[in-house]
Each structure stands twice: as C-alpha cells, then as structure tokens.
C-alpha cells in the first residue's frame, strides 16, 4: 500500500513534466496542442536514434535532444501555430490533429512499429533500487526522474516569477493586447513559450523511454495523461500541474493494484470525476451555492420550471 503510494508519487513527477508543457501552451498562448504527446514521442525517438544508431551516451543524447526540441517548438509556433491561432477556436484543433496524424505515421514509416526503450543503455540503473525500512523497495531511476522533474519545474517557476522574461510571459497570458501596448512583443513571448513547452514534452518522452517502452503510436495516450494532469491540478499554475500529475500517478498505481487493465481506467475516472465536480460547482454557484442548488434542483423543480 505504502509502496504503491510512493511509486504513484514518483510516477507523478513524469506526468507533471509531460503536463507542464501543455499547461504552459494553454495558459500563455491559449493554444491546445493535440500533438503534444506525439512531440514527446518524437523527442524519445530522437534520443533513441542518437544512442542506438549514432553511438552517443544517454546523457549526451539527452543534452542534444532537448535544445533540438526547443528549436522545433520555436519553429512550429513561427510556421504553424501562429497562423492557426489567427483562425479562431476551431482551426488550432484541426491543425494539431493533422499534425499528430502526420507525426505518428511519419515516425511509424521511419522508425518502424517496434517498441523501443532506453532502458538497455543505462546499465544497472534501470533495475537497481534502495531498500527502505518496512521492506519497501524504491527504484533509483524513478527517484532520479522525480528529482529531475521537481528541479525542472522549480527552475521554470523561478523563470516565470523572477525574471523579465517571466514577467513578459505573465503579462501576455493575462492580457496580450495590454502587454503589447506596454512594449511586450507577444509573438516573441509565444515563440519562446512554445520552445519551452516542446522541450518539456521531449524530456517527458525521454523519461518514458527510460522507464518503459515507446512506440510511434504512444503519443495520443501521453496527450490524454498530460491533459488529465492539467485538468486535475487546475489550469495555469505549475504547482497545480505537479499536484495533478501526482494525483494521476497515485490513482493509476492504486488502480493497477486491482488489475493491470484497471490502472489507466482509474486515471480516466479521477479526471472525469474532477471535471464533473468542477462543472457542478459552477452550476451550484450560479444558483447561490451548493445548498440552495440542491434544494432548487430536488425540491423546487416544478417552481423552477414554471419560472423558466
């Protein structure tokens, strides 16, 4: 039980990194990137290619992949997302769905459908663990990944709250027009935000390749997990994203204790439950709080209907 809880929390670090990019894009650029998961897989595939074909070590491959992903994000924003954003709420969804299909099938055509993993290239790290009192085993790799996730999110938090760039980001996300009037170049901010978001996606993809396997079609599931973590934690705050990621990770490991198939379903259920609760709370607040809303719905239904 305790072991599962710890494993779930550690898994949450990975989900938080995956979700942070999506959350950043949504909060700053107001753009839902439905290809976010496929970008993550692309990062993993890039790192795998560097390791398996080019013979780089894993740390060198990570160090090369992340800047490349950031550059890709910048270019995507410049060439595709900016244009899509100008077309209203529908075009971004259509564009990124197309991008997702292109990325998945392109990677399938180039890399084949085999499951790939970086686990074989990091030696003993992939299975070694620490033993805690109470006969609890904690894998070293999940702990390192969790620590990396905390450090990355912490640095990002400092970047957003303490630097001139962060001020520009927050100004743009609050009111892009007002920020532009004060001399903030919103397009530049958006491009850098996209660069950070895609680099984060790449890091999450590498995490997945380290702890499990990736296939060219892993992306949609990663997008769903990222979105679940963002919604559970609340959009627009990194701390919320971390909490959401951990909640999702714990739900999945507890679900996995019942049966392996139940693991992912438990995450979906938590997400839908949280979403339903939020929607009901909005509905309740419109009717003057929970108590009066329940009274209104169950006791005075006829009166309400007559009024309407």
């Amino acid at each position: 039980m305790l072991e599962s809880l710890i494993q779930g929390i550690l898994l949450g670090g990975y989900y938080a990194v995956l979700a942070a990019g999506l959350s950043l894009m949504f909060g700053v650029v107001r753009f839902i990137n439905l290809a976010h998961g496929d970008m993550a897989v692309l990062g993993a595939m890039g790192a795998l290619w560097l390791v398996q074909t080019m013979g780089f070590g894993v740390p060198a491959a990570i160090a090369l992949t992340l800047p490349a992903m950031a550059a890709l994000g910048w270019l995507m924003q410049r060439l595709i997302f900016e244009r899509a954003l100008a077309g209203g709420f529908l075009i971004p969804i259509l564009t990124t769905i197309g991008l997702a299909a292109a990325l998945q099938n392109g990677m399938f055509a180039v890399f084949g459908s085999d499951t790939k993993s970086l686990g074989a290239h990091i030696g003993a790290l992939s299975w070694s663990s620490w033993q805690l009192p109470g006969n609890i085993f904690i894998g070293k790799l999940p702990v390192y990944m969790f620590v990396t996730a905390i450090v990355v999110l912490g640095v990002l938090h400092l970047l957003l709250t303490r630097t001139p760039f962060g001020r520009a980001v927050r100004a743009t996300s609050t009111d892009a027009e007002a920020a532009a009037l004060c001399g903030v170049d919103a397009r530049r901010v958006h491009r850098w935000a996209a660069a950070i978001a895609v680099a984060l996606a790449g890091l999450a993809g590498i995490f997945l390749a380290l702890r499990a396997q990736v296939t060219p079609f892993s992306g949609p599931m990663m997008l769903i997990f990222a979105f679940e973590a963002v919604v559970i934690g609340g959009i627009g705050s990194l701390r919320g994203t971390l909490i959401g990621g951990i909640a999702l990770g714990v739900a999945q490991t507890f679900g996995g204790m019942i049966s392996p198939q139940f693991s992912i379903l438990a995450g979906h259920c938590l997400f839908l439950g949280v979403l339903a609760f939020r929607l009901m709370r909005v509905a309740a607040n419109d009717r003057g709080g929970w108590r009066s809303a329940i009274v209104a719905v169950f006791l005075h239904r006829d009166r309400l209907r007559r009024k309407a």
Partner: protein, 335 residues
C-alpha cells in the same frame, strides 16, 4: 411598407437535388450488375459519407468540435453484438443498437455539453477511452482480442453483402435527407446562431443547451448506426479498432477538406477521402502521414475547404442553408 421575403431555392440547387435522387436510384439498382468488390467498396463509401455528414452537423452547425465520436462508433457495434447475443437477429440489431447508443449519448450530453471548446474536445476523447476500457472488461469481448459476429455467417455471403449495402445506402439517404430537413427548420437556424455567437443566441431566447443536446444525440445515433453497419460488413469487433481515435480523425479530415459548415462539403470530402484511400492506400503509413499534412495545409490555407474554393470565385454556395432574402424594388439592404 416595403417587405423583404425569402427567395425560393435557386434553379441550380433544384437540378442538383434531382441529380442526387437519380444517383440514389442508380445506386440502389447497381448490385444487379456490379461485382462483389464494387459493392463492398461502395458500402464503405456510404459509411464514410454518414460519418462526415454527422460530424459536420456537430462541428459545422452546432460548433461542437468532438474528438470522441469513436465512443459512439464503438458503442453502436458493441450494442449490436450484445443484442445479437441476447437473441435478436443481426439486421434489426443494427438499428436497436444505434437507438440504445442514443440513450447513452443523452446521458453523456448532460455532462459534456457544459464544457468549454477545448475541454469538450479532449474530455469526449477520454470518455471514449474509458468506455473502451469498460467494454474490454466484458467477457464476451475477450479483452483486446475482440470477437466476431458469428450470427452473420447464418446468411449466404451474397445475401449478407447485398443487405448491408442496401441498409447502408438507405441509412445514408435518410441521414442526408434528415439533415437537410433539420437544418432548414428552426433547429438549423438556432444551431447556426449558437455556433456564431452563443451569448447572442441565448439573449434572443434560444435554449442553447437544448439545441446542442438534440444535435449531439442525433449525431451520436448517426455515428452509432454507421459504426454498426461497418461492423456488419467487417464482422470482427476489436475494442482498439472500434473505439480508435482514427474514426474522429477521418471524420475531421473529410469535413475539413470538403468544407466545414456547408451542406455539400462533407459529401465531397468523403468522396475525396475515399478516392485518396483507393489510390494511395497501399502506401500505408506514408499515406496516413500525407493525410495529416493535407489536413494541416487545408486548416491553415483553405479553412473553408473545397467548397471555399468555389465560393472564392464569386459563386453561390450550392445547397446553402442560408436564407436568401429578396428585396422589394427600391429597397436597400441594411448592414
């Protein structure tokens, strides 16, 4: 007092409708001469057209961009399998299954229709995944392995092929005609008003939730019917295929390329998608990647699709849902 009145349908549209009726009759008689392969391919085309028309109703007219319609495609097939297992003959089970799926859509609509655009897109997808997981738990489906509609083997292959073909043709005809009637009626004007500005639509007294709910349920029943017909022609039911997100991607592609929010667009898009699949389908993954790139190009540079190309040349939209107002002599249109 000078009055404006609504002009009758233009002559070209009348010709187009007449032509469509002729094509429909020709298609109904086609199995008399065509080979089994052609009949199978056309069945698939009808199913694609149904998907496109239903998704367009949802996204193009009610502004509900769903990435989760595969939930109803899969549920339609699953309901059919369950009903056949319970002893119903397969062909009535197609329609019963679609009706039951409509019930599920009615329940879900209370939840999903309260969401914002982005939330709606992904939450519907998550719901489809959750339903797939639950359906996989059913011992009848045998997890990821799936199951087959063995009951259909009771019919001779020719009879089965012909029945599925005619049912698909009839369902497609009913859906196109029904959509036409629906959009020309009150609910069509209401839904387009909601799509263009929900707040403004509500302020003139439209019950926005009710209109969206009706369209959502109709589109779901349509997708379930098409999904069950697809199952009747494919026979094997695998949760990963039946509930796969590729259905929604195909719907989106057809509607986007044809012309979102136009009546004829999705039909054109489905024809084009079908043709592309026939010509380039053998390229496998590269073909699907190409489909994705075409979708990006259309979304960015031709968001109104093939019909948009026609409109850019200054022509009227064929079979438009917009009402054409006639002005009395001397009257000037007010902006």
């Amino acid at each position: 007092m000078k009055t404006t009145h609504i002009l009758p349908m233009p002559l070209s549209d009348r010709w187009l409708i007449g032509l469509a009726c002729l094509v429909f009759v020709a298609l109904a008689l086609l199995p008399l001469v065509a080979s089994a392969l052609v009949v199978d391919k056309l069945t698939l085309l009808f199913i694609l057209i149904m998907f496109a028309v239903m998704w367009n109703l949802l996204a193009g007219y009610a502004g509900l961009v769903s990435v989760g319609q595969q939930a109803f495609v899969g549920l339609g097939g699953y309901a059919m399998i369950r009903l056949v297992e319970a002893g119903l003959p397969p062909f009535p089970a197609i329609f019963m299954g679609a009706a039951l799926t409509g019930l599920a859509a009615w329940v879900l609509s209370w939840f999903v229709l309260r969401m914002k655009v982005g939330e709606f897109a992904i939450a519907t997808w998550v719901i489809a995944e959750a339903i797939r997981a639950v359906v996989s738990f059913d011992p009848l489906i045998q997890g990821e392995t799936g199951t087959s509609l063995v009951a259909l083997n009771a019919y001779a292959p020719e009879i089965r092929r012909l029945t599925v073909y005619l049912l698909a043709l009839a369902s497609m005809g009913v859906m196109i005609w029904g959509t036409w009637r629906l959009l020309h009626g009150r609910i069509g004007a209401q839904s387009q008003a909601i799509r263009d500005d929900e707040g403004a639509a509500a302020s003139v007294g439209i019950s926005t939730f009710q209109v969206k709910q009706r369209i959502y349920i109709i589109a779901s029943v349509g997708c379930a019917l098409a999904g069950a017909l697809w199952l009747a022609s494919a026979i094997t039911f695998q949760p990963r295929t039946a509930f796969g997100v590729q259905w929604s991607v195909f719907m989106l592609f057809m509607v986007l390329v044809g012309g979102l929010g136009t009546f004829i667009g999705p039909i054109l898009g489905a024809l084009l998608f079908f043709a592309l699949q026939e010509i380039f389908g053998d390229f496998g993954a590269w073909y699907l990647a190409g489909i994705g790139i075409v979708a990006i190009v259309f979304a960015l540079y031709l968001p109104r699709g093939l019909v948009g190309l026609w409109l850019d040349r200054g022509c009227d939209e064929p079979l438009s849902m917009r009402k054409r107002l006639g002005l009395a002599p001397g009257q000037t249109p007010r902006a």
